[in-house]
């Protein structure tokens, strides 16, 4: 039997199985969306594939009943973990009126859901970083015991808002956890044309906060890093920067063709570390998941996704005139 790593992190077998379930649900939902896109049923997909372990590992280290999150467009895993349902996500993919993120107003993967404390997200990258810092500031002002968790891509970490936001959090020691999901590309531009340091986490010292680079394919490593950061934050020690290194398995989005700028071999190589495979193997090796349980899980997830898809596909579009509403308070 393999070395049991989750127990020493304080995670039960049920919890790690639940982590895996969320990872798999994210992956399968994402795959279904590509199918729907290629079938001409939904106009756009932007994927979490390759980053599920980072997203779920991090989310499970948070208190999903009170922490706030400002996710970015790849964070299907994060929003699932925070309580958004597959059905709600499909409603968004189909741009239907019932979509809780935006009522079909935004592209898919522009997440937001107040009841689950998921801040609404736009397309211009990195704007969410100062927002998350504002949430952290509110927590400090009101002496509340939650943290604010914000994610972004490594390319996006070059925007001024990253610098301004993290510096603000650092100066005021705010309970903010920033996780950069480094998937090696910003659309076509590779890491070494984006940043000049070795790690994005090297930037933490600029802001007087700890910075750590973890294997984004290892949900337990990410869990551990975020858990520590959360404890620090609640102890009033301020923010942390975590870089989760993974790889983008798909093209940037359904509008991109990644053969223009990277080799298929590189992608294939990266997929060998696919956490969906490696974490499943770990769960089996540690006796947490049997083959049978895995098959049940897959069936359960398929059913969820089928139901979500059917529901969303048949749901109504927003009324045209509803485009006029909610510009200001009504």
């Amino acid at each position: 039997m393999a070395n049991n790593r989750h127990e020493s992190l304080g995670l039960t077998d049920e919890q790690v199985l639940d982590m895996y379930k969320h990872m798999l649900l994210a992956r399968k939902l994402d795959e279904r969306m590509w199918l729907l896109n290629r079938a001409g049923k939904i106009p756009f997909v932007i994927s979490c594939q390759g980053q599920e372990a980072s997203q779920i590992g991090a989310s499970f280290a948070l208190d999903r009943t009170k922490d706030y999150t400002a996710p970015y467009y790849r964070d299907l895993g994060v929003v699932l973990a925070f309580g958004m349902t597959a059905k709600e996500l499909m409603l968004s993919a189909f741009a239907k009126a019932e979509d809780p993120n935006s009522g079909g107003r935004q592209m898919p993967s522009h997440f937001g859901q107040k009841k689950n404390r998921i801040l609404t997200q736009s397309s211009p990258v990195t704007t969410q970083v100062p927002h998350a810092v504002g949430i952290g500031l509110a927590a400090k002002m009101d002496k509340k015991d939650f943290v604010s968790f914000v994610t972004l891509g490594e390319g996006s970490s070059n925007q001024g808002d990253f610098h301004e936001g993290l510096n603000f959090a650092g100066v005021h020691k705010l309970p903010v956890i920033t996780m950069v999901e480094n998937n090696k590309y910003a659309i076509s531009v590779p890491l070494d044309k984006q940043i000049a340091s070795e790690h994005v986490s090297d930037r933490a010292s600029s802001y007087g906060m700890p910075g750590i680079t973890v294997d984004g394919n290892d949900p337990l490593a990410v869990y551990e890093a975020v858990k520590k950061a959360r404890e620090r934050a609640l102890d009033g020690e301020g923010p942390s920067l975590i870089e989760a290194v993974a790889y983008r398995f798909t093209a940037h989005s359904s509008d991109d063709d990644d053969r223009q700028y990277r080799e298929a071999a590189e992608v294939d190589e990266a997929k060998k570390n696919d956490a969906i495979l490696t974490f499943a193997a770990y769960l089996k090796e540690t006796g947490v998941m049997t083959d049978e349980a895995e098959n049940d899980l897959i069936a359960e997830i398929d059913a969820i996704i089928n139901e979500a898809t059917d529901y969303a596909e048949n749901a109504p579009y927003p009324e045209p005139e509803s485009a006029l509403g909610y510009v200001y308070e009504e």
């Binding site: 935006s102 009522g103 107040k114 100062p130 504002g134 500031l137 936001g165 603000f168 308070e329």
Partner: protein, 327 residues
């Protein structure tokens, strides 16, 4: 009623709202210990403490962005941009985020934030401490832009802005700060955002304007009264979205309309005002709609000869009204 300067009225409005609602807080550069470079927050740091009168790092995008985050949580931030000219680094947060958050989330989230900034020229501030920047934002549904012209309006509109559940840009004329003094009620009052205000009744020429130019216009109108020219003055108060009804009514009243802004002309607020009139009042007009504005140069220059040439003043307004009256 005590007499207060425009800036005292703003300080008083801020203080009353901070006392009324503990979610109201101020963030910006030098707003704390120093009390602001103009003194708009003087005394409030001592009264309310560091976290309600927060000196931020020198970074406007963060001031706006952190404010947005806190507002989404339920706070009521009042962000100060030290000069309106320095709002530019925050444009992305204001236009892409604050303006669109209610709409894009289908009413799930909202941003009850006020951004205060001193604008305007005539204070030897040169290119970057004199600008009128409202036109940059006056095409963005989701935003409201308030530009008060008197101490009374400043206080009542600031309080309304802070209580508004959507983002409000609140531009204060920095030359008005100490120039304008008037009676301001000590009790709690708010003025409606989105409504223009008739500052003077008249029958020959209608002037529609806002901000410090209202003051210049009232001065000019008084002089012209002696010549027998009667000027109607509509103060826009909220320059975005515009109060169309009030504009149409004021234009129809005299049939001769002069629009005034301190900004350069092309692309300024008053172009939209003119378009509203052209759409709605064509057959009520006795003369072409006139515009009085700054010259088409990037911003107000420093040297006294140049500043004077650029800056609006009561004489320029007087001449423009008289010309139109005689049309």
């Amino acid at each position: 009623m005590p007499v207060q300067s425009y800036i005292q009225a703003i300080t008083a409005g801020l203080r009353e709202e901070m006392l009324r609602d503990e979610n109201v807080f101020v963030l910006g550069e030098d707003v704390g210990k120093k009390g602001g470079v103009f003194g708009a927050t003087k005394g409030l740091y001592d009264e309310f403490g560091e976290y309600r009168m927060l000196d931020t790092p020198l970074a406007e995008s963060a001031i706006a962005g952190v404010g947005i985050g806190a507002a989404m949580y339920g706070k009521r931030p009042v962000a100060e941009m030290q000069f309106a000219d320095f709002i530019m680094p925050a444009v992305n947060q204001i236009i892409s985020e604050a303006a669109k958050i209610r709409y894009r989330s289908n009413n799930d989230w909202n941003v009850p934030m006020t951004i205060r900034a001193p604008y305007g020229g005539g204070v030897h501030g040169a290119l970057y401490h004199s600008q009128s920047v409202e036109a940059v934002f006056a095409n963005q549904p989701g935003l409201k832009i308030v530009m008060p012209s008197t101490p009374y309006d400043a206080k009542g509109l600031l309080k309304a802005s802070i209580r508004d559940n959507d983002p409000v840009l609140f531009f204060e004329h920095k030359r008005a700060y100490r120039l304008l003094k008037a009676e301001v009620p000590e009790d709690d009052y708010v003025l409606p955002i989105g409504k223009a205000d008739t500052k003077r009744e008249g029958s020959d020429v209608t002037v529609i304007t806002y901000g410090l130019a209202v003051h210049f216009t009232l001065q000019a109108a008084e002089k012209l009264e002696e010549e027998g020219i009667s000027t109607h003055v509509l103060d826009l108060r909220t320059v975005y979205p515009l109060d169309q009804k009030a504009i149409i009514k004021a234009a129809q009243k005299t049939g001769k309309v002069l629009l005034i802004t301190e900004d350069n002309k092309e692309g300024s607020i008053i172009g939209e005002v003119s378009a509203i009139i052209a759409e709605n009042c064509l057959f009520d007009l006795d003369a072409p709609v006139q515009r009085l504005a700054g010259p088409e140069v990037p911003a107000m220059p420093f040297s006294p000869t140049l500043e004077k040439y650029f800056m609006l003043n009561p004489d320029k307004v007087e001449t423009a009204i008289r010309d139109l009256a005689e049309f």
